[in-house]
């Protein structure tokens, strides 16, 4: 269906991973990735343009490359990984600029996919046990990050309203776990014991990293207008999650004054983001049926996601440093792609990779 794709946040985990995945599809004619820093992963035919969130420049790229599908993966969902100012700049101003770049009567964009987060719903005492996409959070956001996420989503929703000819998809992802992704929860689960708030055992739902980028991929190739929760089957109590991982729990956070203790804990190395504190108390579950009804199939349940993570955490000390990490060298990439001396495979040969392989030396 779609053929010319723009991925924002190419240098982030999601952008890079998605670009790599889309490269395999022949029907994707062009993949262009933008970010303010250079990507760290190996890309075959994705073109990287270094540009920050300036809508003027983005708008020119969109129009020049006749982009029809924009996938916005850059939302910051961890307040520890960025300062509140950076997070606001990225989540609110950045989203606004990208939306501006896609609007206008001459805009070729027909599909806009926005990766959001289940932090949109917050986590409060009087929440329903399973949030559906049509439900609103019962109280206004408490932390700056949640406020930014709500604001960004509102901007996307307004864009959807104004541009009825653009298919807008919002994916609200539950807490992501996996061997490669770095989130507050993967860090917490890597600790020797799982910290908990004394007297609370929240229900939390997870999603595997592979399922998240498969979800974005699914939206590129299918008709999926609207909001969707992206969360694996199964909501686990935190204590249950710990036992699946084979770890102990440590109820070290006091039920009163949790925020006060979280500060010193951060300096000790357990970097708990403020938006996670409520989650550790009240938890959150979402209803994932709408996305399943749209034809998506999850590869992992919440429990399987945790089992996979547990395996990875046990293997990690053994495997560390074995695989050399790839570094993106702009000049080398440019040489490989554009130099006339490099013998490149034509598009017809590209599919016949198997045939090109040297036979094993018998």
């Amino acid at each position: 269906m779609s053929s010319r794709v723009l991925i924002t946040g190419l240098s982030s985990y999601w952008g890079g991973r998605l670009a790599q995945a889309l490269e395999a599809f022949e029907e994707v004619e062009a993949i262009i990735g933008v970010d303010s820093v250079e990507p760290r992963i190996e890309l075959e035919r994705t073109e990287f343009v270094k540009v920050s969130n300036q809508h003027g420049l983005l708008s020119r790229i969109v129009r020049a490359a006749k982009i029809d599908t924009v996938i916005d993966t850059r939302l910051t969902v961890n307040s520890v990984s960025a300062s509140p100012r950076e997070a606001h700049e990225n989540n609110v101003i950045g989203t606004m600029n990208i939306l501006t770049a896609c609007s206008g009567d001459d805009s070729p964009v027909r599909q806009f996919i926005f990766k959001s987060s289940a932090y949109y719903y917050g986590s409060e005492q009087d929440d329903p046990a399973f949030f559906r996409e049509s439900m609103l959070r019962p109280h206004p956001p408490r932390t700056p990050l949640e406020r930014d996420i709500v604001e960004a989503e509102t901007a996307v929703a307004e864009f959807a309203e104004k541009r009825s000819d653009v298919e807008v998809t919002i994916l609200r992802c539950a807490n992501v776990l996996g061997p490669d992704v770095d989130t507050a929860f993967t860090r917490m689960f890597a600790l020797p014991a799982i910290p908990m708030v004394l007297g609370f055992d929240p229900r939390i739902q997870f999603v595997h990293e592979d399922d998240v980028f498969h979800a974005m991929e699914h939206c590129v190739f299918h008709d999926t207008p609207g909001v969707f929760n992206v969360a694996a089957d199964g909501v686990l109590a935190l204590s249950e999650a710990a036992s699946v991982l084979g770890k102990r729990t440590a109820p070290i956070l006091p039920p009163w004054g949790t925020g006060l203790v979280a500060g010193p804990l951060r300096s000790l190395g357990f970097k708990v983001p403020s938006e996670m504190l409520n989650l550790l108390r009240f938890g959150r579950g979402v209803d994932n049926r709408r996305f399943k009804a749209a034809g998506f199939e999850y590869g992992h349940t919440s429990r399987e996601t945790l089992l996979k993570l547990g395996e990875h955490l046990r293997l990690d000390p053994v495997m560390r440093g074995i695989e050399g990490s790839y570094t993106y060298e702009r000049e080398v990439e440019d040489f490989l792609r554009w130099s006339p001396h490099v013998k490149r495979k034509g598009p017809s040969e590209a599919s016949g990779v198997e045939a090109d392989r040297e036979p094993l030396g018998f």
Binding site: Q125, D126, D127, P128, A129, F130, R132, E133, S134, M135, L136, P140, V150, E153, T154, V156, A157, E158, A160, E161, V168, I170, V197, L198, G199, F200, D201, R203, P225, G226, V227, D233, G234, V235, L236, A237, E240, S243, P255, F282, G285, D287, N288, R289, R290, K292, A293, T301, R303
Partner: protein, 293 residues
């Protein structure tokens, strides 16, 4: 907060009608110890074999009438009167279904949201089948999962009630429970419990102490606050009688569309309340002794 226009989009493709999307519900993983509501069969079973067994059989010597009115399949909303500080009635109703029903089913108990704020409580309540009394939760349980759900429409007003007001039903909220049952096209099973009022009579409510301690209410009972928090569990051995009344089928009353009809909802709520009140009077009138039945 501005209502997102995409929300309407989400609504227009409602998941509910016709087939229940049963195949889209999370599959049951046999390796898990809890279900998605946080309910633990192990902890529930343990409580059932120990505390509830003792209370049901020996302490309250519960007697059950009309158990056949509890449907053996499909979603059903059990509506009961409520009394006593930290009331034992919910546990006894669940136990009655387990013991007397030919096809015992788990019972979900709706609890007010404030339980989630209390350390300790918030861990235990979901494990033994407590679910926050949110309309969305009740709908999911009744419609999507076809479970038995117990509600106390009197809510906190019932537990705050003093001994002198025993067996007088308080207002039945705003009829939210009827609306929930209608939207889910489930049955409503009214039921009466007597004995709970005498098991833990509250003689006074001290609002100043309630504010000081931050509890939801601060009752004066024969054992509380004299024995400290444990006094909350000090039940007198009153004889328990539970009577399940004839179910009312919401599908016959018009089902989902009828939920929009506020007048009908109120009428049904009044009707349920009247039936419970009438049967309570009947049961109390026939009771010769509070302690021996």
């Amino acid at each position: 907060m501005a209502r997102s226009p995409l929300v309407d989009l989400a609504d227009s493709k409602e998941l509910v009608p016709a087939e229940r999307n049963a195949e889209l519900m999370s599959p049951i993983e046999p390796e898990r110890t809890l279900n998605d509501w946080g309910r633990s069969e192990r902890i529930e079973g343990f409580m059932d074999r120990t505390l509830f067994e003792f209370l049901y059989r020996y302490w309250f010597r519960a007697e059950v009438e009309g158990i056949e009115n509890v449907p053996s399949e499909g979603g059903a909303l059990l509506v009961s009167n409520h009394a006593g500080a930290l009331p034992p009635d919910a546990g006894m109703i669940a136990k009655a279904i387990k013991e007397e029903h030919p096809r015992p089913r788990p019972l979900y108990l709706t609890v007010e949201h404030f339980f989630k704020g209390y350390p300790g409580f918030s861990m235990l309540v979901p494990k033994i089948g407590g679910v926050a009394a949110h309309p969305a939760n009740v709908h999911r349980l009744l419609y999507d999962e076809e479970q038995l759900v117990l509600v106390f429409p009197e809510g906190r007003k019932g537990t705050e009630k003093l001994y002198k007001d025993r067996y007088r039903l308080r207002r039945f909220g705003r009829g939210g429970f009827v609306e929930a049952a209608m939207r889910a096209e489930a049955k409503i099973v009214p039921l009466c419990v007597i004995g709970a009022e005498e098991a833990m009579p509250a003689f006074a409510q001290i609002s100043a102490l309630q504010k000081l301690t931050g509890l939801i209410y601060f009752p004066i009972t024969p054992t509380f606050p004299w024995l400290g928090p444990l006094g909350m569990m000090g039940y007198l051995p009153a004889k328990f009688k539970i009577r399940f009344l004839e179910p009312i089928d919401m599908a016959e009353l018009g089902g989902r569309e009828a939920a929009q009809d506020k007048a009908l909802v109120q009428t049904v709520a009044q009707e349920v309340r009247a039936r419970i009140q009438e049967n309570l009077h009947d049961m109390v009138g026939k009771r010769k002794s509070v302690w021996f039945g």
